[in-house]
């Protein structure tokens, strides 16, 4: 019976996910048509889409805004990301749009397939899903021009759709809000003539494992977390870099580790970006050494 429910839930969530994805793409296309979506910014300067749907790197939101719109234009992105871990799989997809390179809105759905753990608890195919609604405001600066980094503040409002398991393991809330401030800058010709991108993000969060295991726990609630990214651009279309993201460790039932990744990003055009990365999440819900391959596809409008 449990297994039946899990299978039904899986089928439902996949149907739902495709609908959300398709809806996002159609919405963005309509938006691009009616609203003068532009691509006046330089290639790669919109970054890619991080795992919670904000413009950034892979794990870390950056100060950049989605798409390629300038102060006179609008911009938008859709994305699909998959992270295959030894015992789990994370799927993430959604869309974002930015108004006049000032304000970004994003919506993402994450689905965390419990894999090995699902089988162990008698729920093969079970998954934890959450929605992330994001907003980001550029306060000052520009990624490329001027000495000041681009500085933005953002929020990610997260809501678990499957809270039963997170509650059982000690999470307090099914919803939570992350608040962050990011500073990002491209240092032209900084490393032997190659451009270097750096990003620093400070986040206040009570999300366990990005929120997939709920919010707050039996060992604490909200705390400040540091995140950072460093990348080198081999040319305007190819970049490689590293990211690090602190995570809370507020559930007694299992340790939560910080996350890190090494990535390679390719921007064949202003329409498309592809990212391949090696992501290390450490220990996740009692299963150690969760390190795997991350693939992400982004379309821009």
């Amino acid at each position: 019976m449990k297994a039946d429910m899990a299978v039904a839930q899986k089928a439902d969530s996949q149907g739902h996910s495709f609908g959300l994805w398709l809806g996002g793409v159609l919405l963005l296309l309509a938006f691009a048509q009616i609203a003068h979506a532009g691509d006046g910014r330089l290639i790669a300067t919109g970054g890619v889409t991080q795992v919670e749907g904000s413009a950034g790197g892979g794990l870390v939101p950056w100060a950049v805004l989605a798409g390629y719109g300038t102060r006179d234009e609008l911009g938008g992105t859709v994305f699909r990301t998959q992270l295959q871990l030894p015992d789990y799989r994370l799927d993430s997809y959604g869309f974002a749009f930015a108004i006049h390179n000032r304000l970004e809105f994003s919506l993402a759905r994450q689905r965390f397939d419990l894999g090995t753990l699902g089988k162990a608890i008698g729920m093969p195919g079970a998954a934890l899903r959450q929605n992330v609604l994001g907003a980001k405001l550029r306060l000052a600066g520009d990624l490329v021009y001027g000495d000041l980094p681009q500085i933005s503040i953002g929020v990610q409002r997260k809501h678990d759709l499957d809270f039963t398991i997170p509650r059982l393991v000690g999470a307090r809330h099914a919803s939570g809000t992350d608040v962050y401030v990011s500073a990002t800058h491209l240092e032209l010709a900084a490393l032997d003539g190659y451009d270097l991108l750096w990003n620093v993000t400070l986040r206040s969060s009570n999300a366990n494992q990005f929120g997939l295991l709920g919010f707050g726990g039996d060992r604490g609630n909200r705390r400040w977390l540091a995140e950072g990214s460093l990348a080198i651009l081999f040319n305007p279309r190819w970049a490689a870099g590293l990211e690090y993201r602190q995570k809370p460790d507020h559930l007694n039932f299992a340790r939560e580790d910080n996350a890190a990744d090494a990535f390679l990003a390719w921007f064949p055009s202003k329409r498309l970006a592809l990212v391949a990365a090696c992501v290390n999440l450490g220990s996740v819900a009692g299963l150690e050494r969760q390190r795997g391959v991350y693939l992400s596809l982004q379309g821009s409008f």
Partner: protein, 141 residues
Amino acid sequence: MARIAAVFLLLAALAACAPAVRPGATLYDQLGGRQGVAALTDAAIDQYANDPRVAPTFEHVDINRFRRLFAEYICKVSDGPCVYTGASMVEAHRGMNLHETQFNAIVEDLTAAMTSLHIPVPTQNRLLKRLAPVRKDVIYK
């Protein structure tokens, strides 16, 4: 953590593969001196002429004068032996109301011109770095 450090060292090593330029050589030398800058000027003007975002801004411009001044300016900012005889960047772009999009288009076209001449990426970046501060003087004027 050691693995991450190793990856970063690899990245740094890759970055160090830039073609060696003789010590003391100016950016002007790296661009190929007088001939190189002349070729770059021609290639850039060619790109601008074929870019619908940029071409209209050249409608009433004496292109031969622009060619001479552009070469002088590139020469000067790359530490070459030239005197720039044109107006200041603020003066030269007053009343044009160049948008951010057009400025970036000019950057993209210049990059394409440099790439077409096989100028190495580090040299391209060094020139762009010296030209980037101009942006605040020329957009929305």
